[in-house]
């Protein structure tokens, strides 16, 4: 009786463990930034459709994970939501797309524009009420990004601030969390990916984008470079892998992929 159970279990284990030989083929492992992951996953599917004998497995886990995994060989390609830094020159980066960073306010907040000085004052806590910058009286809720994120670094660098200078009321992790937080609070101000914000406000979420230095925060302006605040989304590989992975990298940066990139609300880098 127990022998029968045992063989059933053994059979199950063997069957579930077996890989379908038709699919056991070349695999490209990609890990890294959770911002870039959905985009590369879609590109990967398109690549698989054209190259049925190759599988592209995309994992999330953070930009840092991407770098670590590529270095250790656990991943073939890393995704990072920034450019390579100086101490990462053992790797090669290929810019895939650009992501603009824009300030968002709640839809009910009618403040037309904010000067650089005003933005700095708001984020450092010197100005705490909307009436001081031309809006209706109400407490300002500053929404900031968590430390280590490239969006934060970009923001700080542009406004010449240090990480300790910001007096935030809410700290968020992902773009979507930032959007949801601002959408839930009429007095909130935050900064998120422009493409995402454009989509969300178009879909009815009660937020609006604020221009920067007179330039409207729109994907168009990120594309032609007039919008000042943008970060690159980069694919990273070990130099030795250049030949083997060339096919995928070129595919990802090809014009056919522009629709997919735009579809994820980023701006394609390669014309």
């Amino acid at each position: 009786m127990s022998e029968r159970w045992f063989s059933v279990v053994l059979l199950l284990v063997v069957v579930t463990g077996m890989e379908n030989p038709a699919l056991a083929a070349d695999r490209i492992a990609v890990t890294g930034s959770s911002t870039v992951a959905p985009l590369v996953a879609e590109i990967g599917k398109a690549f698989e459709a054209q190259n049925p004998e190759i599988r592209v497995d995309v994992q999330s886990g953070g930009s840092t994970r991407g770098i670590i995994d590529v270095r250790s060989g656990l991943a073939d390609i890393g995704m990072i939501s920034r450019s390579l830094s100086e101490d990462e020159n053992d790797l090669i980066g290929f810019e895939l797309a650009r992501d603009g960073v824009g300030l968002i306010l709640h839809l009910q907040n009618e403040v037309p524009a904010l000067s650089r000085r005003q933005i700095v004052d708001i984020f450092t806590g010197k100005v705490t009420d909307w009436k001081d910058v031309g809006g209706r009286p109400g407490r300002i809720t500053v929404v900031n990004k968590a430390e280590g994120r490239s969006t934060l670094e970009l923001f700080l660098a542009y406004f010449d601030l240090g990480v300790r200078d910001i007096a935030a009321h809410v700290v968020i992790g992902d773009n979507q969390q930032g959007i949801k937080t601002v959408a839930a609070n009429p007095g909130a101000i935050g900064y998120v990916s422009i493409g995402t914000a454009e989509f969300e406000s178009g879909a009815g979420t009660p937020i609006r984008l604020l221009g920067l230095e007179g330039v409207e925060a729109a994907v168009e302006n990120v594309k032609d470079g007039t919008y000042p605040l943008a970060r690159p989304l980069t694919l990273v590989i070990r130099p030795a892998e250049k030949e083997r992975l060339r096919g995928f990298i070129e595919f990802a940066r090809s014009p056919e992929m522009h629709d997919i990139i735009l579809g994820q609300f980023f701006v394609p880098s390669h014309p």
């Binding site: 463990g17 890989e19 379908n20 497995d57 994992q59 999330s60 992902d174 979507q176």
Partner: protein
């Protein structure tokens, strides 16, 4: 059972107050829990129902999950949960039976195991994820796989299984053990035929709690069973769990909200199916229940 009582005693006023307060407290507590639970679930149903149709269960996801369906994700989730339960149940039952029936209660081993179970229950899920990816993924070479995710989850639900089974076994009166001994049953048979069935409802409760926890887990799975939303072809493939998918759609993908809620609704349905299955299996296996 509860109708055979008089509704008050002769003992005096304090007890009359308590007699009145206790039902009120019970009703209040139940109302609070029920109310909030209902609120949350209704919110999901309201937001998720519009996005739900038959193709949602059958199609593959498209456009980073904003379109299409979640079929591969359902399969992955099912496999992960089954792996977790299959791995945790024998270990959990074994540990619980060992602790209750075979170890003197004050022994160092029993105390250490007990303590480590409590602590295990408190390890943050993200730490479990990192541990799982290092131990199962890297060291044991499973990589990003359903197996790795399932085994990590098994570690997470072990405390629940062991604790409930342990409690259930401890509640069985010693008379039964004496009776079994008097009948000449070996301990193995006593456990199998008498004690486990008697603790049956506790074991089932532990199983259901473990199932719930396994389905609810997100952070640990991101690092172990991974992010791939393709239909898995084996346990060694990476597969995206439903909770991970919901997280990705809600927090990471612009415009993913609609499908996030639809997926959450599917998760509720999944829970119903899986709980019913677990209850029936449990009942079947422990049917030799001896009732008082």
């Amino acid at each position: 059972m509860s109708d055979s009582f008089s509704s008050s005693t002769e003992r005096g006023r304090p007890h009359r107050i308590r007699d009145a307060l206790l039902p009120v407290a019970a009703h209040l507590g139940a109302l609070v829990l029920c109310g909030f639970a209902f609120w949350v679930i209704m919110d999901i149903v309201w937001r998720g129902a519009p996005g739900l149709d038959w193709s949602f269960f059958i199609d593959e996801p498209t456009s980073a999950g904003r379109g299409g369906g979640i079929a591969p994700i359902l399969v992955s989730t099912g496999l992960i949960v089954i792996t977790a339960i299959a791995a945790a149940t024998p270990l959990g039952l074994a540990a619980a039976i060992f602790l209750v029936e075979f170890m003197p209660t004050g022994s160092r081993f029993a105390v250490w195991t007990s303590l480590s179970l409590d602590v295990l229950a408190g390890v943050p899920s993200i730490v479990f994820g990192l541990f799982g990816s290092a131990f199962f993924g890297l060291w044991l070479g499973m990589g990003f796989s359903i197996l790795s995710g399932g085994l990590t989850l098994a570690c997470m639900i072990l405390p629940l299984l062991v604790r409930t089974t342990e409690q259930g076994l401890r509640m069985v009166p010693d008379d039964w053990r004496r009776g079994a001994a008097a009948l000449g049953l070996s301990r193995f048979s006593a456990v199998r035929l008498v004690l486990l069935p008697a603790a049956g409802s506790a074991v089932t409760a532990g199983l259901l709690l473990g199932l719930g926890r396994a389905t609810a887990e997100t952070a640990a799975l991101i690092y172990t069973s991974g992010y791939v939303d393709r239909m898995p072809s084996s346990l060694f493939d990476s597969g995206r769990a439903l909770s991970v998918h919901i997280y990705d759609l809600a927090m990471n993908v612009a415009g993913g909200d609609e499908n996030a809620y639809a997926s959450a609704l599917v998760l509720i349905l999944f829970l119903i199916v899986v709980n019913v299955a677990a209850m029936s299996i449990s009942d079947f296996l422990l049917r030799k229940k001896v009732s008082t």
